[in-house]
């Protein structure tokens, strides 16, 4: 709660200084946005490093070791290297499309954090349609991938872009429907209220049998597909499409895609934590610590998937979504509705 206290203090300080109220609001929002941005950039860098370490240890290697303690400075060095790199635009590229694609991916990845509660009271804006906002914003990623695939004017990139469009559209459905099941129970679209409705551990939606676990698994699978990670990383698919949609990107543009991917992983984990794992709720520790522990645990699960499983083929992926995941999630939604209104397990 100390963090919130600091914010409140600064806010009051500004208000006391005699500025007009509009300005105070504006400065407060900008400050919060900058803080969230900085925090997420740090988290993304950390995740890159962490993924490398996790993969290395799963494969009985060391991973980066030479830069700092267990190579913790490695991603910083990598980011600096990418910044210095020549930014190549293919001559046949569709320039505006090619140029805007990584920016849209980047912005879309970060915008979702406006409504994610990092802790009790630690939220930029508690929208009453928070979850809807997230679903809408994260879908922007498809547009950026499609733009990248089209704008590069490369066959591999085009195949990758098309694959990602098909994939994200297919998996958006089970993901939203599994989220809906939670919303039905919580009775609110606001992230804060969803978290507040699962105060005790048995109230977490993952433990609300029988619909909770099913919704959670559906959500995790759909989220893996949404973030283009193995076993659903067919838009990139190094072994088939070389690098898929970002095959022509280099330098900072590539870094933006890369960071956006990791921010997206963190996003879906954060949403998963908020919806199913009780968000910031937890004893003894400060609320934001609980939030980060749970979120990183989920991120680790995603990484674990990535370094264990092979990749599905594009048609099998669609088949899995439409023939299995979508019916399952809809059935689960009906089940959740029945549970809510019949009063079973309604603790």
């Amino acid at each position: 709660m100390e963090l919130v206290g600091i914010f409140k203090y600064l806010y009051e300080l500004l208000a006391d200084s005699g500025l007009p109220e509009v300005w105070v609001e504006l400065i407060g929002l900008v400050a919060a946005a900058v803080m969230v941005f900085g925090l997420l950039a740090l988290i993304a860098l950390f995740l890159v490093w962490w993924e490398r370490k996790v993969s290395a240890h799963i494969q009985q290697r060391f991973g980066p070791m030479l830069t700092g303690w267990h190579g913790w400075r490695q991603t910083i060095a990598d980011a600096l290297k990418l910044l210095q790199k020549e930014d190549i635009t293919p001559t046949t590229a569709d320039r505006p499309v090619y140029y805007w694609a990584p920016i849209i991916a980047f912005v879309a990845a970060f915008a979702a954090y406006v409504v994610i509660p990092f802790g009790e009271g630690l939220i930029v804006a508690d929208l009453n349609v928070g979850i809807l906002f997230i679903v809408a914003i994260t879908t922007f990623t498809i547009i950026s991938l499609l733009m990248a695939g089209w704008g590069s004017n490369n066959k591999y990139a085009l195949l990758g872009g098309m694959r990602s469009a098909a994939q994200v559209v297919s998996y958006e459905v089970p993901m939203v429907v599994s989220i809906l099941a939670v919303i039905v129970f919580a009775g609110s679209l606001s992230m804060v209220q969803i978290v507040e409705s699962q105060e005790l551990i048995y109230q977490w939606y993952i433990f609300r049998l029988p619909f909770g676990p099913i919704a959670f698994v559906t959500y995790i699978i759909a989220a893996t597909a949404e973030t283009n990670r193995t076993p659903f990383d067919i838009p990139e698919a190094e072994q088939e499409l070389v690098a898929g949609f970002n095959v022509e990107y280099s330098g900072m543009k590539f870094a933006m895609f890369f960071l956006a991917e990791f921010v997206n992983v963190f996003t879906v984990s954060a949403i998963g934590t908020t919806l199913f794992l009780g968000g910031w709720q937890g004893p003894w520790l400060p609320s934001w610590v609980w939030f980060f522990i749970k979120t990183f645990a989920l991120v680790f699960v995603f990484m674990w998937f990535r370094w264990t499983y092979p990749r599905l083929r594009v048609d099998q992926l669609m088949e899995f979504s439409w023939k299995f995941l979508v019916p399952l999630s809809f059935a689960n939604l009906i089940l959740a509705g029945l549970m809510k209104y019949s009063g079973w397990f309604n603790w």
């Binding site: 799963i58 009985q60 290697r61 060391f62 030479l66 370094w307 499983y309």
Partner: protein, 251 residues
């Protein structure tokens, strides 16, 4: 259908646990420039070196040209002049850019004059530096332990691989230029334990700081000469204990 689904989930989880199991294990790799194998296998074929007599410091090479003839890539060139009907070595050139590290030269040599030493770090900044001449080859070979072969009468006609076969005949008379300091060669019907003892006696002394063969910062080969001659005095052959199993550095 349900059984299939349960099986699928079960196997996915098994896969996760198998990779998860490895997460806690220690890495099997080495951090190369920092950690190295303490000791290369004795037979490891690295760079070609010329061996010289431990006492006199002279090269063992008798300019018989067998290695040059055996080389499949023509990486070896021997230059000699004839003094009183005897060949005298002028230069011995090994082109490491085309050497294929097959070890045929070592196998062919009957005088323990050329060897593929277990050294592998000899990268240079320019291609020309990889063409090594006699002096450089001799320096590289100073600290390489070897055993002088006991020559049978018709050793030249035999396939060289027989030398290591453990079937060599009893030690016989040696020729004049070999100063008779060699150990008796492994005999026929030798037990394995004896053989092992014999071989551990020949292990290379681990000298990590001396193993760097060519240092790019050194400008001319002439400067190399003097430095390495000083090093030569330190080149002692202590009999390595049986550290074969602990080749990886302990952590």
């Amino acid at each position: 259908m349900v059984k299939k689904l349960v099986d699928a989930i079960k196997n996915l989880v098994i896969g996760l646990f198998t990779t998860g199991k490895h997460l806690g294990r220690h890495a099997v790799t080495l951090q190369y420039p920092k950690e190295k194998w303490q000791e290369m296998p004795e037979r490891s074929r690295g760079i070609v070196v010329l061996l010289s007599d431990k006492e006199t410091g002279k090269l063992n090479c008798t300019v018989c040209m067998l290695c040059q003839r055996a080389c499949p890539t023509a990486a070896i060139r021997i230059e000699f002049e004839k003094v009183e009907k005897k060949r005298v070595l002028k230069d011995f050139i090994v082109d490491n850019t085309i050497c294929c590290f097959c070890g045929l030269c070592e196998d062919t040599c009957n005088f323990a004059a050329i060897k593929m030493a277990p050294k592998y770090e000899f990268s240079t900044l320019s291609k020309e530096d990889l063409i090594w001449h006699r002096d450089k080859l001799q320096e590289m070979g100073r600290d390489v332990p070897y055993e002088k072969p006991v020559r049978k009468k018709k050793a030249v006609a035999k396939k060289p691989a027989e030398k290591t076969a453990g079937t060599a005949a009893k030690p016989k008379t040696t020729t004049g230029d070999e100063t008779g300091k060699e150990k008796p060669k492994a005999q026929n019907g030798q037990t394995e334990a004896e053989k092992a003892k014999n071989e551990t006696g020949r292990t290379e002394t681990p000298k990590p700081d001396k193993v760097e063969p060519s240092k790019p910062e050194k400008p001319e080969p002439g400067g190399d000469d003097n430095k390495n001659k000083k090093d030569d005095s330190q080149a002692t052959t202590e009999s390595g204990e049986s550290e074969k199993d602990s080749r990886k550095e302990s952590k």
